[in-house]
Structure formats: structure tokens, C-alpha cells
Symmetry: D2
Subunit: 335 residues, 4 copies
Amino acid sequence: MINVAIVGASGFTGLELIKILINHPQFNITYVANSSGNTTVSQLHSCLDGVFDMDVKKANASQLAKVADIAFLALPHKASMSFAKELLDLNIKVIDLSADYRLELETYEKFYCPHEDKNNLKHSIYGLPEFYEDQIKNTKLVANPGCYPTATLLALLPFVPYLDQKANIFVDAKSGVSGAGKKLSDITAFVNTNENMFAYNAMKHRHSPEIDEKVFELTDIKVNVNFVPSLIPVTRGMLVSIYVTLEDICDAKKVLKDFYKDEEFVRIKENPVNIKDTSGTNFCDIFVEQNGNALFINSSIDNLLRGASSQAVVNANLMCGFEAGVGISKIAYVP
Amino acid sequence: MINVAIVGASGFTGLELIKILINHPQFNITYVANSSGNTTVSQLHSCLDGVFDMDVKKANASQLAKVADIAFLALPHKASMSFAKELLDLNIKVIDLSADYRLELETYEKFYCPHEDKNNLKHSIYGLPEFYEDQIKNTKLVANPGCYPTATLLALLPFVPYLDQKANIFVDAKSGVSGAGKKLSDITAFVNTNENMFAYNAMKHRHSPEIDEKVFELTDIKVNVNFVPSLIPVTRGMLVSIYVTLEDICDAKKVLKDFYKDEEFVRIKENPVNIKDTSGTNFCDIFVEQNGNALFINSSIDNLLRGASSQAVVNANLMCGFEAGVGISKIAYVP
Amino acid sequence: MINVAIVGASGFTGLELIKILINHPQFNITYVANSSGNTTVSQLHSCLDGVFDMDVKKANASQLAKVADIAFLALPHKASMSFAKELLDLNIKVIDLSADYRLELETYEKFYCPHEDKNNLKHSIYGLPEFYEDQIKNTKLVANPGCYPTATLLALLPFVPYLDQKANIFVDAKSGVSGAGKKLSDITAFVNTNENMFAYNAMKHRHSPEIDEKVFELTDIKVNVNFVPSLIPVTRGMLVSIYVTLEDICDAKKVLKDFYKDEEFVRIKENPVNIKDTSGTNFCDIFVEQNGNALFINSSIDNLLRGASSQAVVNANLMCGFEAGVGISKIAYVP
Amino acid sequence: MINVAIVGASGFTGLELIKILINHPQFNITYVANSSGNTTVSQLHSCLDGVFDMDVKKANASQLAKVADIAFLALPHKASMSFAKELLDLNIKVIDLSADYRLELETYEKFYCPHEDKNNLKHSIYGLPEFYEDQIKNTKLVANPGCYPTATLLALLPFVPYLDQKANIFVDAKSGVSGAGKKLSDITAFVNTNENMFAYNAMKHRHSPEIDEKVFELTDIKVNVNFVPSLIPVTRGMLVSIYVTLEDICDAKKVLKDFYKDEEFVRIKENPVNIKDTSGTNFCDIFVEQNGNALFINSSIDNLLRGASSQAVVNANLMCGFEAGVGISKIAYVP
């Protein structure tokens, strides 16, 4: 058993990490923290009452390092990098769920803020296991991808080599409300979101550069996705529709099937994907339909699991030498 | 006061017609029918108990013609054209909410069934008032547009002259569940739709030819939209996202504003549109955002009103010489 | 036309007042205010963009008195009474939607705070038109009932004379989330409320004394209702279940029908009531079922309309000598 | 490992059984059937694609008996008893999720239909583990309780000895829509249920006699609960409010805590219970509040798990000599 810490236990991704790790056969939760401390896990999350309880400490790197070997950081960006730096100096492995180690320095500073841990940034590995498995196995710092880039990259990457590079790439992405986090806001108030749907940050979302960068890193092809995210009135789940134009007409269904034929957590579907089939799991479901040179690529993930916490545990599994799927759920919240 | 008939009173669009016409200052409901008769309006729709009641007859054209001068047909396609034909022969004005008179003969027969009223089909007018107002005023037969084409055409048409004609047009359209009608099906069962979202008939929906045909009719430009409809877990409302590529870069926001500057029922918005702002009204809200030559056009309508029943009453108003907006609601179901 | 003011235009009940009064044939909105001013109606409520616009002022009684004859106050309790007092001194009629004038002094001060307008409190009339119509017609100050008391009193009052006075009265009341107001809170966050349901302030809600007091005032019978409110994952609507025990077995369905036989806005139903049939209207639907001496009384209202804003306009109608139902909607938001 | 069969794999409770048993450390699914056969598990339930697959046979008792030692029957009542009888003759242990073995003969025949397996009915054990654990361990036939009786009995039973026997007992029970089963009906259509709530079979539901009978069996006290079930617009979950009157005033919170102090799957809460905390688990959460002799008892379960499938697996665990909680989830579907 390896001792693990969860920092940022109050939010949705913190809760999901706890829920996964409680039953994980190889990891043992020994440290739970948030920004204020002085509480317990079951006070933060009443659903865990009688299931799992533990003091929640005010986050402190050296205390963490005494009791754990690996840490999950479910913190806001900026807060995350300063804490990660301390942990890495103490030789603790880190899976960072924030944006802090996902981007090239320049891109990060353009879309977020000045970076405070440039040294570790150079060596961080992007935690998308289907594409970075070997590097993940050998790193001490994984930058866990965001939910939008995860669902977009897994759907888009198989087709990048076939695209007409002069044509636009459009991504229409729909997220459950939990994706906006636990902080109260107009956008997450029931009355504003229920029976409603709307886009936000259309064509300007800061997840676009994350997608562009990784596509280039993995294919050597420059893209500039036009990204339009929307909130939909569901609690969890994410559905992504990608619209692209092919250079040469390929058999898109075959391309997709071949590309992921050995992947445990990607399912190629015969029908358009839906949110509920992946909700509660680490799966990414993908479907593709073509009309001449026009392509509709359609993917679904659980935004809090494959888009955050279960993908983080897969990365931890790999970093610790376990099989990717140890302790990871494939059983959806259906019905 | 003009006497009006509603045929097809059991469904959602039939109910919406009744709700509008009860309070209409110029129309008087004198005939209500469905396919079986032998019931009353308040038995069909308990919400109208104590508000409006009337026998619901088994639909019969000659009986209708004795008591009404204009008829709304909220019938399934095929059933509609045989009934419309009878009414037109009896000199009754018809607003047909089905697909039967919307398409060119060839297109209709390819996507639906053999047409049984070719003669009237030639003279029917497409009831999109912003584009066909003069013809509507002088016709006896309006083919009321479908909800998907209404929301798509109103958003797309201002930009057609500016498009790169070699680039693909993508339409990602989301409909509330009422759009699937009242008939029980897996797709409209609560447990399948709630907390879920999924596309259907992706790139193959029979509303695409309706859009293509009308774009050509109005602009002389051939398009071939790639149309992907989805159901979202809301009862009413429709949100459409259109992704296109410009030939020459124009000021999209200005183009849009100028195009609709005199229209009463089209609102140009500064922010992405949402479903609730148009729900309960005849408005179409439109927003546009551009990124170089890439354009995101975003529209919202109430699928049952602007997408069916209130647009039908606007058409009836025009056919009878009234102002377009008489008796038409602008007050949304918010919150 | 009578000039009216709306104070407290930012919240849900303020919006509903505006929506009703825009189309009211006898009232003319001449003054709209909230606590900060410096905005417009359509900035506060984007759904009214292009429909109705007007400056929203910082609330000021003497400015209001210059342009309006009657004022609707949709303010928090406490804020309301100090403003109402000023208006009444200026001879403006007031319909107060807060709790400030609903209760006996002692009760008010026990459950809320010290009262600052005891003089007017003595003369205020409780705005439940079915029971206080004559007094409402002759008052300058109406205390508009809360949504829970409205739905409970209308259902309970017909049966009070038949009850076993030693048996407990239980009220299980379910409210849509808009009933909790527009202020952000954990209880109104989408993720906490969606796919969920829970009681709050069980047996301790401050709406119980409002119910007890009015029952006594109207029947001379002392009751002590056990009131358990819950939030349900719908935006608007309220469903109340009342469980009581009869002294002598009566024909409950007949008692109910007879009691309300002349009422325009109460409908007695043959089947359990539902939320959607009253949503968007001023109706209160009531159903009753009995099992020996056990009675289940079941009512439904729109919490924002019959439970607040449309009832307020009915009261204003009566205060100004109009028919109760002028400008009041009976057309539900169905489907 | 013990080989188990699931008969009735198409419905929601069948799916939940499969989901639990896939990962159960002691049970091995060897037979899956429904009424028609000729399909596979993943064709019935697309969420299990790539997770678990197996042919689904047309149900046949002797074939089942060749490959399994214990069978879960998730069949409609009536269909269940004829199949159970065959299995019991073949010496297969049966957990029946229908109503067929839950009631006394007379009661069953009054509320359902003539009974076709009277002999086994005499020996069936009611599968509410907190009250029948020893008998369950030694039976071959468990009648798994319905969801309404489970949530009601667990909340009511601790207080039965303290009740004023002349006062009425009222149960206001709210169920998620999945409780109405997978069959299409108006009541389960999205548009009718979304943004809505309504009671059905008020004071006449056939789950009342199940509750009355078990209370008498366990306490020797005759009760006659007044049961009012409602559907709420959530997919899964159940919330029950019980209103009763005490004979002598007891400390209700202490009574409740003491009663369940050793139970693994009952949690006594300090605040009103909610649906999400138990959703996805086998927990029953209970809260109680009193006001003099008036009591509000409030319980929450997952209708498909504690109200059906996970309780069934707990029963199977006990019948096979395992700990009650083996393979049973305590991790809720939160958020």
C-alpha cells in the first residue's frame, strides 16, 4: 500500500478523489487538507458520513511529506504551483489537477498569470494516458488535463493527419454544471441553469490553447480550434461535438476504430454517444459520422472523473507501477 | 372577429395554438378537432380546465368550413395534405404546421412520401415572415416552417453572401424534449433524457433539405448544411450553433444588426443567447462571434412557439390583414 | 389608467410584477426601483430586452409619490416597513409582498424583528382575496400573503370546522427553487438541488404562525399546524399536502366544492393536483381524498404568481375598484 | 464463488443487479435472462458495452438450474411466482423482487390476483435484513421488499410502540421516476414529469397493506397507514415523510439512535435527509423532529438499490453465509 494525500478536499474533484481512493486496493489515504482545515471529511461531504472519516488539515507541505508519498492537488490554479513546488522539493510525487503545469510557459502566462515554478514546469508530463503513458510512468509531476481538452483531444487526435489544414476546426462542447465548480455564481444557480442552456466565452475559452499545444506536440501539425463551451442543465457529464473538414476522404469509422483498438478506456460507438453511458466511469466514448469531406466527431466523458479525478488516479497508478485501471470504475451511474 | 379552426388539438402545438387564440383580439375559435373526436379541450389539456372548453370533434372538412374561415392544421405529415386539400377546395385559408407544403415536390418525395396535393404545393408560401411577408399576405396556404429550419435560417441567412462557398457549414442544434412530440418513445422517456444529452440522425436529418432549399430560394446560393440535432433535458426551447467560414472578413456583428434592424421579433444580443429568454415568446434571439474567418452564429427560439404555433398565428395575422404581432406574446417564461 | 410603482425590481417577484403590469389594461408602470438604482429594467432582466425598458431608480418614496398612486413593494422584510410607512404618509396605496404587515405585532416580533411601523400594522389587510375581498377594497395597505400560507390556507380553511381539534395537523409543502429567492446560497446551487429533494426548517418554519393566526381570525378555532417545507428540483411551482383528522365524517369532496363554488381562481379537481397546471397562472387547484376520518388535502399554486405577484395585482385591482381578474393570466406554462 | 442467475435483465432493477454482481467478490453471474431472450447484456444496456457481456436467454428454469445455485427474479408480479415455484422445486435459492411472496395470502389476492404458489408463500421470508436477518440466513425464498415499504418501515418501526393508537398515521412518499419502471407511459414521459410533481393513488396505494402487515408481524400492533405516493422529477431516489402522534412524549431522537445503533446500513442524521446522500448506496438515512406529541420522521433511500437490487444482494449474502455488506456500495452518486 502506498500512502496518498489529497489537497483541496472541499470541491467536487476533491470529493471524487476521496470516493475513488477509499476503495482503491493499492492506495491508502493518510492526509486530507483544504485551505482552512479544522474540519472533517464527513463534515465537508455528508454523503461520506459513516463511510469514511478523517481530519481535514490546513494544507502544509512538510506535514504532508511525513505521512504520504504521493499527492493529488485539487486546488485553484496559482495556489497549486506554489504548493506543488514545495512537495516536489520534499520528493513527493504530484498529480496536479489545476492548469498550472499543463501549458508552455509563454502560453500559461498569456492566459493565466506569471508562473512561479518554471523549473518544474519544464519537466511536467501531460496526464493523458493514451498518449503519454511511458512518460507518466517515469515522472514525478503529472499535469492532469482539463475536462474540455480531454474530451476534445481524444476525439480529435485520430483525425488530425487527415484534415484539410486550411479549413476551420470547430468544437461545440457541453458541460454539466459541476464543471463550473462549487463556488456560488449566477451561472451555477439552479433557477438560471435549469430549463436553460447557453454558451460562454465563445471562441475565447482558455482551454483552446491547451488543445492547440497538445495537438502540435503530438502530431507536429499546427491547429487553431474554435472552441465554444456551453453549460447544460445536468449535474455531471460532458458531450463534445467536433466539426472538421477532411483533406482526402478517408473511412472515418475505420480510422477511429483502428486508432483506439487496444485502449481499455476508450469505446468506439455505433451511435451518437450520450452522457449517461460514461457518467460515473473513466470511459471516453467516441462516435464519428461523415458526409463527404465533412466530419462530425462526438465524444462523451464524465467531466469530474475522466475529466479530472479518475484520470488523476490512472496517472497515479502508472506513476507507481500499477496497471492503469486498478481501482477505476467502469460501471456507469445508469439509470 | 374572424372564425378559426384548430385541427390536431391533442398535441403540444395544438395546445399552444389554443392558448394563443383564446386571448387573441381578432380571432375566435369556433372549431376544434383531432383524429378521434368525442372529447373536450379540457379533457385533453387539464390546464385549461375552467379557462376554455369546447367539444373536440373528429376532423371533418365540410363541417369545419361551415363555422370557420381559416384553419390551423397541427397534424402529422401526410394526414395534413389530404385534409388541407379539402379545405382549400372549400375556400378555407390554411396554415399547415406539418412538412407537407414546405418543400419542392422532388425533395418532399425523397424524404417523406408521395405527395397527394401537388397542385396546391406549387402555390404554398413558406411562412417565415421576415422573408416572405408580402407573399404570406396574399396566399391561401402557408407552409409553417419547422423549428430547426426557423432557428437555423434566421441565424444563417444574413451571412450567406459572405461565406466561403467551398467551406462546410455545420449546424449543431439542440431541442427541448417537447420537440419530439407527445407520442411515447424511449427518446422522450424521463429516465432516458434527464441528466443526459445525445445527438440523433446526425448529418442525416430531414430538416437539412428544408434549410438548403430556402437558402437557395432566397439567395441563389447553393448550400449543403451538415445538420446535427440533439435532445437536451429541458421541456421547451431550442438553441442553435452554426459554424461557418467567411470568404472575406466582414464585421459580423454589424452585418447582423443591420440585417434585422427593422424586425419586431428578432433580437440581436451582445452575449451568447439562452433558451429561457425566448421561451414563451415569438422572439428569435441571435448572437454572433468571429475569430478571423471563422464564425459562430448562435440563435434561440421557443420550439413550440416561434418554431410552430406563434409563428403560425403571425402568418394568420398577415393572411387576414392584421399587424404581424397582434395577440403574440413577448413575455418570456422567466424565471 | 392608474400609475403604479414597483419597488424591488431585481428579484423574481419584482420581475413577475413587471411582466404582469406591462400588459395590464388599467395600470401604467411609471416608476421602477431597487436598492441601488443606476440600471434599467432590461439590464436586470435580459428577457425584457426589446419588450419593456425603463430606468431603475434607487428607491425614494417622495420621488415615487410624484409619479405613481399605488406601489408594489417586493422588498426584504424590515426594509419594506420603513419604506411603506413613508409611502402611506404620502397617501400612496401599498401592496407589500414582504412579511412586515402580515402578522400580529407580538407574533411578528417573535419570529422576525422589532416592528417599526406599528400604527399601520394595525390597519393592514391580509391580501387573500377569497376571504378578505371587502376589506381589501377599502384599505390603503395590503399585506400580500406568503406562498406557503396561500397554498395552505386555501386548502385547509374549508375543513377547519370539521376537524378533530385534539388531532395534529400536518402540512408537507414542496416549493420550487425560485421560492428561495435570487440570492446565491448552497440551497439554490444547481448541483445541490438538481436530482435532489430535502426538507428544511422542519416543524419550525416561520410561516406556521402566519397560517395559525389567519385560521383563528377567520374561524375562531385555534390550530397549531406542523409545517414541513421542502425544496424540489423545479424552478417554479408549489405543491402542498395537508394531513388532518375529521371529528365527524363529512363528504369532503362536497364540502370543498360547495365552499369554493363561486370563486374564479380556485379550481376543485377530480385527481391529485399537479404543479404544471397552475404554473404561469393565478389559480389555486385543490383536491381532497378521505379514508375514514383521515383526510388528504392537496393544493397547487405558482409560488411566484398566486404565491406573490399575481395575487398582489389582484389585490391592487380590488383596491382600485376593478374586477379581481383584470390583467391576470389563466393560461398555464404547459407543456 | 457461487453461481448466480438474473432473470428479468431488461428493466432498471435487473440492470442494477448486474452492476452490483459484476464486481461482487463471492458471486459469479452465470445466467442472464428476460422474457424474450435472443439478445445480450450490452445490447440491452449500452453503458455496459466493453464492461460485461453475456447472452441473454429466454427465461427457462431447468436451464438456469444447470448453471446457477441462486436466482434473482426481477420480474413483474404473477410472472414471478410461477417461475419461482419451478426454481424452488429444482432446489435453487430465490430472491424475488416482485410482490408475489411479500404478503399474506388473503391480502395478496385482494390487491393483486389469485396466488399460484401458496405453498412456498407460507415459508417465504420478508427480506428486510434489519428485522429478519436470522430467518433470511435460513431460507430458500426471500421476498424482497418494495421501495416504498422499505423506506417507510425502517423509519416508522422504531416509533410504533410510542404511538397514540387512535391517531392517524400519514405517509407522504416521493419517488424518483425510475420507480415507475421502464415501460413507457404518460406518467414517465419527460414533458409530463419534468418541472412537475403530483401524487397518484393517494390513500389507495397497494403498498399500504405491505406496511400494515409487517408492522403487525413485528410489533403486534395494528396500524392502518394513510399512504400518499408522489413522483418527483429526479431519476432515482426516494424521500419519505411520516407524520404521527405520540401517546406519551418520548425523546424521539434518542429512541431512533438507540434503535439502530448497531446497524451498518442505517444512518441517523442531525438534519433532514436528502436524496443524493443515499443515491448509489444501500443506506437508509433517517431523521426525526418533534413538536410536542407530533412527530415528523424522514427517511431517504435509493429506490433501485436499498429499495430493490442492493437489498436483494444483501439478502443473497445472508442466505449464502457471507457478511451482509459484501460487495455492497456505500459510495453515493454525489455530486
